[in-house]
């Protein structure tokens, strides 16, 4: 019996359906092409760094490429950065070919993925670089990165909501923020462990 290398979680279909419903301008296929270019960047980088792909998981958090063996922190950082870099290169080529819409989709996807928030590529690149630090500094850095990811997802959600209220349009920002919060659900459940949040909760309760 063969093992499937592709796993599609139900949350992926929810994510897809939401963006299909919100896509009033019919630009979703451009983002799908940009996502394929983005993932191909990761795949090429994994091959170049001597990694081996074990499988792909599609979920609301996007596509996650699982590797069968761990690589060095710089290699992991390069693999994480390869997606946005591939998107930026594609945007440059498409712009030169006078395809502004396709170029713009690659720019937007690369910019969002470069945010230093987990589980986006920017956050993953930062996390892999933390592996170069001594153990204590790495642990502190990881906690700071997790807290920053939670706060960043919350700010994105609030900004997305404000944009929707302000313009009466553009719900995609809110959707991306909510899905980032969903992707960080594990961190969200453990958010009471963060010192900063522990200091805020008593103040909220006393009010």
């Amino acid at each position: 019996m063969t093992t499937a290398k592709l796993r599609v979680e139900p949350s992926f279909y929810v994510f897809w359906a939401l963006f299909c419903l919100l896509d009033s301008e019919g630009v979703l296929p451009l983002f799908v092409c940009a996502a394929v270019i983005h993932e191909m960047g990761h795949v090429l980088a994994i091959g170049a760094c001597g990694g081996r792909i074990d499988g792909v998981v599609l979920s609301a958090a996007g596509a996650v490429i699982r590797q069968s063996r761990s690589l060095s922190p710089p290699a992991e950082c390069l693999i994480a950065a390869a997606g946005p870099l591939a998107g930026a290169a594609a945007a440059g080529i498409l712009s030169a070919l006078h395809c502004p819409m396709a170029a713009g989709a690659n720019v937007l996807l690369s910019l969002v993925n470069s945010l230093p928030l987990l589980p986006l590529d920017g956050g993953c690149a930062l996390r892999s670089l933390l592996g170069l630090l001594p153990a204590a500094a790495m642990t502190a850095g990881l906690r700071a990165l997790e807290l920053a990811s939670l706060l960043g997802a919350t700010v994105l959600t609030l900004l997305g909501g404000a944009l929707l209220l302000y313009t009466g349009r553009n719900a995609a920002g809110l959707a991306v923020g909510l899905f980032l919060l969903g992707a960080n659900a594990r961190l969200l459940r453990g958010s009471g462990n963060y010192g900063m949040i522990q200091s805020i909760i008593p103040k909220i309760r006393s009010n």
Partner: protein
Amino acid sequence: MEETIRRALWCAAVCLSILTASRMLRASGALSFLPESDAGRAIAVLGGAGTDGGWSEGLVAVFAPHTQ
């Protein structure tokens, strides 16, 4: 390998079905209660940033409140 291809085809079929259904619903006006998107105009501005000037003003204009 066969299982992977089968899953990929199944995923593509489901995604295409959802996309087609949402396009049909939008064409019929059943989704008129949903907010419109300016993603197309935003990516056109971002995509033209390398060739056209004033992309930041363009983005501000895209996300300005609509009066109609």
